[in-house]
């Protein structure tokens, strides 16, 4: 990873905020701000020295979805601002709103995922690098509800990993197959779902998700 990432943390629960800061610093990032209200977050999101923001959906004062709303607003003026949204629960509705605002550089994960420290830091770096990371639970919920009967089990696995924002190499490593085989599966998925082939990882994910939501 080139240089030190400058990160913003917005989380109202002190223990979690301190924990997040500690994990990110241990992962070699610099914390430029750690805020605990939606107001402070909105201000912090306008900083120029920001490479990535890690934001809790639920913040004071109303403890509903202020964090998400602040992010959506900020990304309407800075569509490339990398943001990783954390939540106690994931909701496809919010994933859709998040994806609709801005392009790429976005993540939506359960707070539980933070316990996998290395995986979490990797996800932050992926988002900062322009990638899309969605919690497996969002993807699984959508995939299981759709009539994707035309897909084989293996293709489903590939689709789920793809929507989580993993690269072909990572998918290959995870499923113990060659990258070429993954390529073939992905092409099959694109054909079966009538999606135009897209080379870029990020657009690939978005295309699949758009299809899942549009049906």
């Amino acid at each position: 990873m080139p240089g030190t990432l400058r990160a913003l943390v917005a989380e109202d629960q002190t223990l979690l905020r301190v924990g997040l800061v500690r994990i990110l610093e241990a992962g070699g990032m610099e914390i430029v701000a750690a805020v605990d209200t939606a107001e402070a977050l909105a201000d912090a999101l306008t900083r120029d020295d920001l490479d990535v923001a890690i934001v809790d959906v639920r913040l004071p004062p109303t403890f509903t979805t202020e964090g998400l709303e602040a992010v959506v607003r900020a990304r309407s003026s800075r569509p490339d601002l990398p943001v990783l949204v954390l939540s106690q629960y994931v909701e496809p509705l919010y994933a859709r709103e998040l994806l609709a605002a801005g392009n790429g550089s976005v993540g939506y994960l359960l707070k539980d995922r933070v316990v996998d420290v290395d995986g979490f830091v990797a996800a932050v770096r992926q988002v900062a690098g322009g990638g899309t990371v969605l919690d497996p639970e969002v993807v699984a919920g959508l995939v299981s509800a759709r009539p994707l009967n035309r897909l084989t089990d293996r293709e489903r696995e590939v689709l789920t990993l793809m929507a989580e924002g993993r690269s072909n190499a990572a998918i290959a490593g995870r499923l113990y197959v060659t990258e070429k085989a993954v390529d073939k599966h992905i092409n099959n998925i694109f054909t079966k779902l009538d999606l135009p082939p897209a080379p870029d990882d990020n657009r690939r994910v978005l295309a699949v998700l758009a299809w899942l939501n549009a049906v």
């Binding site: 629960y89 909701e91 509705l93 996998d116 919920g141 959508l142 509800a145 759709r146 049906v215």
Partner: protein, 428 residues
Amino acid sequence: MGRAAPSSTVRDSAAVEAPLTWLAPLAPVPAGRIDRAGLVERLRLTVVSAALAAAGIAALVLAVLMVASFPALLSLTGFLMLWLVVPLAALLTRAHRAVAARLLGEPVVARYSGTTDRNPFLAVFAWARDPARWRDFAFCWFSGTGGLIMSILPVAFFVGPLIHIIIGLAQGNWLWFTIASVLYGPAWLVWWFITVPLTRGRLRADRGILDQSRVAQLQQRVDQVVRSRSATADHSEAELRRIERDLHDGAQARIAAAGMNVGLAEKLVHSDPDAAVELLREARDTTVGALEELRTLVRGIHPPVLADRGLVGGIEALAIPIPIPVTVALRLPRLPAPIESAVYFAVAECLANIAKHARATRAWVVGDHDGDTLRLTVGDDGQGGADPRGSGLAGIARRLGTFDGTLTLTSPDGGGTEVRMEVRCRAL
């Protein structure tokens, strides 16, 4: 006059079965418009008034007999009189209820306390405690006094001139005819104006005295509320038990296990670091499991998206994972949380049913709130034939019933399914 009452009674009760034009609902006949329909309607009401007046005389007789029997209750005579008179009064009021109901076009209902298999002496005491019997008594007095006058006026104003004119004509006495016409002509004018309001007033008074349908309605509502409240109490009790058990068997147990693992790791960290790391990893996985269980539990109690976004956002979120296109068109303010929750789960159940059973190609959730009632329809274009007694729908109805809500299912075979919900509630 003794004969007039039974004859009118017989005709009235016959009217309950066969629709007679005599007893058609009151027609709107403004006094300003003089036409055939107005004349026919007024003649009809005059005949009805005549019958009511005749019945009023019978009612007066019954009322007097009832009063007379009260002092006689000290002997058997009083009881004998009441056994005869009270059922007769009931018969008479029954006929009047039927007439008033037919002409006013609204049900007029009595609720007598049951006296069928009682000792005849006790029956009298039961009657004395029965408000419906006292209404009969009051009605007999009204019908024989004020009511009688109200009913006799249209008849008098119509028949009076008619008789004199007929006499004049029959005897060929033109002087008589002319005097009668001049003197009594205005009486017919009066008749034209008073017949409709007097008859309507009389019928409304009858209904006012005899109708207990409001009482019946209130009684029914109370029964319903009592039933739904106890069902809700049972339901919440069961829910609380389920939550307690889920917490106890799930998250609590997992957190305890994680704590144990961490404690063990603390002991081993110097002597056997590898084992300690393994234990810590296990503890970490266990907490993830606990969080997962808590999340599932919370979704079942009060879905977070509903708390965050209200019904509109909640229902939009419900629609996303449904495998067919769902149109969500809702214009709703934020409503009290328990109602949002009940309606949310109702819609969730309906959408789940559509996904599972309906074989539909599309579905819709449409609703609005007009200031005091929430109306919401969940529909699909599937195969229809949904069973209203299905446990899911019955559960929804029960849950909505707690808030005085109603659920209507329309699901013809092959014609799609529509579930309509209505809940009275104020916006927040």
